[in-house]
């Protein structure tokens, strides 16, 4: 309570009129992007300091969540269960600008919107998630994604990939190409392979699934690789980078994946393309040459543009993976730090946690966790903490983790959208 009192004393001493004037004067925060990071940041800011004026800029009326969208592909969940509105965000006192941000002027501290309006801010939070690098994989552009879906932003693409799987003949080859690091949800491609294999085993048992990888190692690798032969014998094959797994081009007309060594013609092709921070980040000048956004590890303020904070998948967060859990955790820390900064105080060093569950089958869950703190200018793993589920377990450990996964999804979406 001390900080709130101090803030109140400050505004009273300065002779400011209550609530409204101070909110319009020095407490305007604009948040770009209403996903796990942005919606959390906006609601948390209002919860911590109700007198702030907080505007959330998000073009979509309905948000479609990626976590658990692999279940939709396996027809054990419907896309409607992935969808969340912004009523809870508005109820929290956040102003919703239902349009896209088209330009950020870091010097003038303004955000231009697609509807023609312009917003001024004291602090800006950018949480635009990812965009695809359409120039990075020859043959793969937005038109190609209608033939070989990415389904890496959930919604119509997820539904398209599911329809393609359902229309495939038994005995068809499903190919997933997995990108080099960093990208959204490191274990996601392998959870996807697992759940598609689960569905193939039941409905199209003569089919096979091939993962062509641009990496030699991946998140929770041994857990996945132990489970595949056991649960889906003869169905899942993983080709690593050093085995020639890197896809160098695709041909959407024939659903062909080309590597240095082979051409794989798919019945269903899922390209998970190389990624970068949401395009508005580069426009605002907060993305570096990697395409992602460097930030300091306490308030996640851009190291390139003061006054702009970047959270979620768009940011370079040291050891933290690009996950919804991490995005939500970063947003809460960022919101608290912004309240401190606006009150003229220095935010304390945070500790953050990440926990990511993957389903290898609907009743078979595995997890990875980490604990992070600022160290030498980056968010670093706290040594000795974190790690994956054990390789050997007894009893109902895997089914228990599958239950935890489902409860986590209910929790994080309530934490984010209210």
């Amino acid at each position: 309570m001390t900080s709130r009192r101090a803030f109140l004393k400050l505004t009273v001493a300065a002779g400011l009129a209550p609530a409204v004037a101070s909110a319009q004067g020095t407490g305007r925060v604009v948040v770009i992007g209403g996903g796990f990071a942005g919606a959390t940041a906006a609601r948390t800011l209002k919860a911590l300091e109700p007198r702030l004026s907080v505007t959330l800029v998000e073009p979509n009326r309905i948000f479609t969540a990626c976590p658990f969208s692999n279940d939709v592909l396996a027809a054990i969940r419907e896309i409607s269960q992935q969808q969340f509105g912004y009523d809870g965000v508005v109820r929290a006192g956040v102003t919703l600008a239902q349009t896209a941000a088209t330009a950020v002027d870091a010097a003038a501290k303004t955000v231009t919107l697609a509807d023609g309006n312009r917003l001024s801010y004291d602090r800006l939070v950018m949480a635009p998630g990812i965009d695809f690098r359409w120039d990075a994989l020859p043959g793969y552009d937005e038109a190609a994604a209608e033939k070989m879906p990415h389904a890496w932003k959930a919604g119509a693409q997820t539904v398209l990939l599911r329809q393609q799987l359902q229309a495939m003949n038994d005995g068809g080859l499903v190919v997933i190409s997995s990108p080099a690091n960093p990208y959204r949800c490191p274990p996601g491609p392998y959870e996807r392979a697992s759940l598609i294999a689960y569905w193939l085993k039941i409905w199209k048992p003569k089919s096979k699934l091939l993962i062509l990888d641009s990496k030699d190692a991946f998140s929770k690798q041994r857990l996945f690789q132990n489970a595949w032969p056991q649960l889906y014998p003869g169905i899942v094959e993983w080709v690593s980078l050093s085995q020639g797994g890197k896809v160098t081009s695709v041909d959407p007309a024939t659903l062909t994946f080309v590597t240095d060594f082979a051409r794989h013609k798919a019945a269903v092709g899922n390209v998970i393309p190389p990624q970068k921070a949401g395009a508005i980040a580069a426009q605002a000048g907060v993305a570096d040459r990697t395409g992602w956004c460097p930030v300091e590890p306490v308030a996640f303020e851009s190291t390139l543009q003061p006054g702009i904070h970047v959270v979620g998948d768009a940011a370079i967060m040291g050891g933290m993976p690009k996950s919804a859990f991490a995005a939500n955790a970063q947003a809460k820390v960022c919101a608290a730090a912004i309240v401190e900064l606006l009150a003229g105080r220095k935010p304390v060093d945070p500790i953050l946690i990440n926990t990511c569950y993957s389903l290898v089958a609907p009743d078979y869950g595995i997890s990875i966790a980490g604990v992070y703190r600022p160290d030498k200018g980056v968010l670093a793993d706290i040594p000795g903490a974190g790690g994956t589920s054990p390789l050997e377990v007894v009893g109902g450990f895997r089914s228990q983790e599958a239950l935890y996964a489902e409860s986590w999804f209910k929790t994080i979406t309530a934490e984010t959208f209210g």
Binding site: K332, T411, G418
Partner: protein
């Protein structure tokens, strides 16, 4: 007059926000606490198998964290997470959760 009114207004707003199940307040939350609510939310989540810990006794939360950390109590993720926190950090987080409305 204004001196009196302002805090009353602010706390009324705060109470209203808590009543509507907004995210846990994090400004005085000790380091780490706001991440915990990614699984242990301030609000009750229907049908969740993850324990709701807001409003529980601080001593119980702190004991559980220590036992997870040492492995005395078996766990799935909690042991791995608890290893990232020392005793004073655990006590601060436990006290904060205990002070949240149940």
């Amino acid at each position: 007059m204004r001196r009196l009114l302002l805090p009353v207004l602010a706390s009324a707003l705060l109470l209203a926000s808590l009543a509507e199940g907004r995210p846990a307040r994090a400004v005085e939350a000790p380091p780490g606490a706001s991440s915990c609510t990614g699984c242990h939310a301030a609000q009750k989540i229907p049908d969740s198998v993850i324990p709701h810990i807001a409003g529980r006794k601080a001593a119980d939360i702190a004991t559980a964290m220590r036992e997870y950390r040492s492995g005395a109590w078996p766990s799935s993720v909690m042991g791995r997470i608890a290893k990232g926190f020392d005793d004073s950090q655990i006590d601060a987080i436990a006290a904060w959760f205990a002070a949240q409305p149940e």
